[in-house]
């Protein structure tokens, strides 16, 4: 099947006999007579209005994408990849991948970001050449900072001779990935279909090898729209996923010695766990050492119900620690040091002689321009390896290192640690009770009501800017908390939550999110996407009618500059008029209630919303809240 380009007139002439026979004849003719085929192509070019390409390159591209197992491709439609979109829908049957209609490329990417964290595998996005890629950048940066894999496909027409005049030139670029290259793991612009196949499989493998990250493949429009030449020669490489690397065994033994000998060890876990197994491994190590764990929250690393889970005591634990084990911590320096704001006064938290061990692949994936690598911190024992993959060896080494007497001593720490944990939890509950009946609603009360609504479900809190959830909710499953955006780029929360809900839809997991009002307004069109594709999610607005953090920044600057203190609302608040998020959601087909201002009305509203979600639809409750 070297050429499936068929002249429509020839096709119609032969239709009286058999369309299939005509195709076969035509193909046979081209197989045996390349020169004739070339002539036919010229004729077709002359009669472009009649040309039919029944087997375009984009069909093969779909075959390649299907070979990766990608189930969804989120996209705002764009002409530079129109052929690929058409092939996904008509040739691929719009299944695996299914095309998801998004209203902004930033939403497409953020959806894929949330999906990957919930599903444990990447999904695809397509972005229109130049303009779509530019829209996507901030969300890609978030995914990069969060080390989350995303398969990105960009439209482009590299051959200037193939572009139509006007807009198509504006939407074409020599190097589509240039704008993303500082914060993607790999990219390529294939010039043939075989090249496309190999690069897509390579990209998937690179994206999913820890440290993970987004990758970008250009699907050239001319290659996609044109016919496949000599398909018999095309091969889709087999996809195999890399096994994450384990830290050096000698270094692991040394780490075990340091940890066993420590009197006040602390474990800091950030982007450590990739699965429930990762949590289980950390619990095993922590219990063996009786070492408190601070889950920094990049991932769900440790059950909040465990007596060694001590996130709220982070500062005190760091200040007292003699050995600290860091597991994929994005900002190690920031755990041991602070700089006050706005006066930039430095303060060391950790002891001067504290020993540090960091198991991380962070150094294997850094770039120079964007400063997501954080401030450099010297580590006593840096171990280059995947933390989750290294933990079993470390736990075994700890068992070997600790003799009977030492094991008894380690076990004896338990009683005090359990008491400390109970006190920490009691403090959290007491703090949450402050302002319980306040109007606007306290964020602690909002959090407590939401927990009360979902406590009997298998649940996932996909996104939230509220810390109370981690402090208060009993969370034991990896799916419970998905962590933050990575780069703190605003506009992440709602689309990422919808992406996570998509991944959770078939698992029977109820997905909830707490949405900031300023964040949602970046790209609220994702509400329509959730409604259109029947993605069940319970969104709760933390509506404080402000870019609240910026209000506080303005106050700090006014104080620093010795100027009036009552103008911080200018440019930072979202009032006059107040946004009616319930109406906004309803206008896009999302069941909604609000604004809720009475604390007593939150619970009943959430119960109704949960019923909507359980029948497979999105719901939103707008709650007017305290700032934080």
């Amino acid at each position: 099947m070297s050429n499936q380009t068929i002249d429509r007139r020839s096709f119609l002439k032969g239709a009286a006999a058999s369309a299939a026979a005509v195709i076969g004849t035509q193909l046979a003719a081209t197989d045996t007579a390349p020169a004739a085929a070339a002539a036919a192509e010229v004729k077709e070019a002359e009669q472009s209005g009649d040309k039919v390409i029944s087997r375009p390159g984009s069909d093969f591209m779909v075959d390649v994408i299907k070979a990766t197992g990608i189930e969804y491709i989120a996209s705002n439609p764009g002409s530079s990849f129109r052929s690929l979109q058409e092939s996904i829908v008509n040739y691929g049957g719009n299944k695996k991948p299914e095309f998801l209609t998004c209203m902004h490329e930033e939403s497409s990417v953020a959806m894929a970001h949330g999906y990957a964290k919930a599903a444990g595998k990447p999904m695809g996005i397509m972005a229109h050449g130049t303009v779509g890629l530019q829209h996507a950048t901030m969300a890609v940066y978030n995914a990069w900072c969060d080390r989350v894999p995303i398969m990105m496909f960009a439209g482009n027409i590299l051959d200037a001779d193939k572009r139509r005049p006007g807009v198509e030139w504006y939407h074409c670029v020599q190097d589509p990935a240039a704008i993303h290259r500082d914060f993607t793991k790999w990219d390529d612009q294939p010039l043939s279909l075989q090249h496309f196949a190999e690069s897509v499989i390579r990209a998937y493998k690179i994206a999913t090898t820890p440290p993970m990250g987004p990758v970008l493949i250009t699907a050239d429009g001319d290659l996609a729209e044109g016919p496949i030449h000599d398909e018999k020669k095309l091969r889709i490489p087999k996809l195999t996923i890399s096994i994450p690397s384990q830290g050096d065994s000698g270094a692991v033994s040394e780490a075990a010695k340091m940890l066993v000998a420590a009197e006040r060890p602390v474990i800091l876990a950030d982007r450590m766990a990739r699965s429930q197994e990762g949590m289980k491994r950390l619990v095993e190590l922590a219990e063996m050492l009786n070492a408190p764990v601070v889950d920094i929250g990049g991932r769900m690393n440790f059950p909040t119900t465990h007596y060694l889970c001590r996130g709220e005591d982070r500062r005190a634990l760091i200040m007292g620690a003699d050995v600290v084990l860091l597991l994929e911590v994005a900002d190690p320096w920031g755990q041991f040091n602070t700089i006050s704001d706005p006066h930039h006064e430095y303060r060391r938290l950790g002891k001067a002689d504290v020993k540090t061990i960091h198991i991380s692949l962070g150094d294997t994936l850094t770039k120079s321009n964007y400063q997501d690598m954080q401030r450099f911190m010297p580590v006593d024992l840096p171990i280059s390896g995947d933390a989750q993959a290294t933990l079993p060896a470390l736990t075994e080494a700890v068992k070997r290192e600790a003799g009977i007497a030492r094991r008894t001593a380690l076990a004896d720490r338990s009683s005090k640690l359990r008491t400390d944990y109970a006190r920490m939890k009691e403090r959290a509950r007491a703090a949450a009770g402050e302002g319980w009946d306040a109007k606007p609603v306290s964020t602690a009360r909002l959090s407590a009501h939401l927990w009360n609504t979902i406590k009997n479900e298998q649940w996932c809190l996909a996104t939230s800017g509220i810390q109370w959830n981690r402090n208060l909710w009993p969370a034991t499953e990896y799916c419970n908390f998905l962590g933050g955006s990575g780069g703190s780029g605003v506009g992440y929360s709602a689309p990422a939550a919808v992406g996570a809900a998509l991944a959770n839809r078939d698992k029977g997991i109820v997905t909830v999110s707490i949405e900031g009002d300023g964040d949602l307004m970046y790209a609220p069109g994702v509400l329509w996407t959730a409604a259109h594709h029947k993605i069940p999610i319970l969104m709760v607005m933390h509506n404080n009618r402000a870019y609240h953090q910026e209000v506080m920044h303005l106050q700090k600057m006014a104080g620093l500059h010795n100027r009036r203190m009552d103008q911080a609302a200018i440019g930072t608040t979202i009032e006059n008029p107040n946004i009616d998020f319930a109406k906004l959601a309803q206008s896009m087909g999302v069941w909604s209630q609000g604004p809720v201002t009475d604390p007593g009305a939150i619970g009943p509203a959430l119960s109704k919303a949960l019923a909507v979600v359980k029948r497979g639809e999105p719901a939103l409750i707008d709650v007017v809240c305290q700032g934080r």
């Binding site: 920490m424 939890k425 009360n452």
Partner: protein, 120 residues
């Protein structure tokens, strides 16, 4: 040394009580307006309950002494911005303090069923 420390504590305590008593008269109603105008609520909550993620500590009920309150307001420790006299008058400070003192305690923790789940 211990005696000296105890004596200092007593003196400081007595001074605090004196300072508390010396808090100028203020209007809780005007204080609420000033509290909102100067956006104290953004970090400390509208009823002084404090805020999530360590943004601002709890101020009420039972605020610290007036002297300590003024000291922190005018020349703050840590990240809080300074609210100086030329922008927040002494009367406004007294009013804000009166508002904080007027805030009544909320329900007891044991009486909030929604908070009796965590860590158990």
């Amino acid at each position: 040394m211990r005696i000296l420390f105890s004596a200092m504590l007593m003196i400081f305590g007595a001074f605090a009580v004196f300072a508390q008593e010396q808090a100028p008269a203020g209007s809780a109603e005007r204080g609420y307006q000033a509290y909102m105008k100067y956006q104290c609520y953004t970090c400390h909550g509208t009823v002084g309950q404090g805020a999530d993620r360590g943004t601002g500590p709890k101020l009420a009920p039972n605020p610290i002494s007036f002297e300590g309150f003024v000291r922190q307001l005018r020349a703050p420790r840590q990240d809080m911005p300074a609210y100086r006299k030329q922008f927040v008058s002494e009367q406004e400070v007294a009013d804000i303090y009166a508002y904080l003192k007027s805030i009544k305690p909320g329900p007891m923790l044991k009486d909030i069923p929604l908070l009796n789940f965590a860590g158990k």
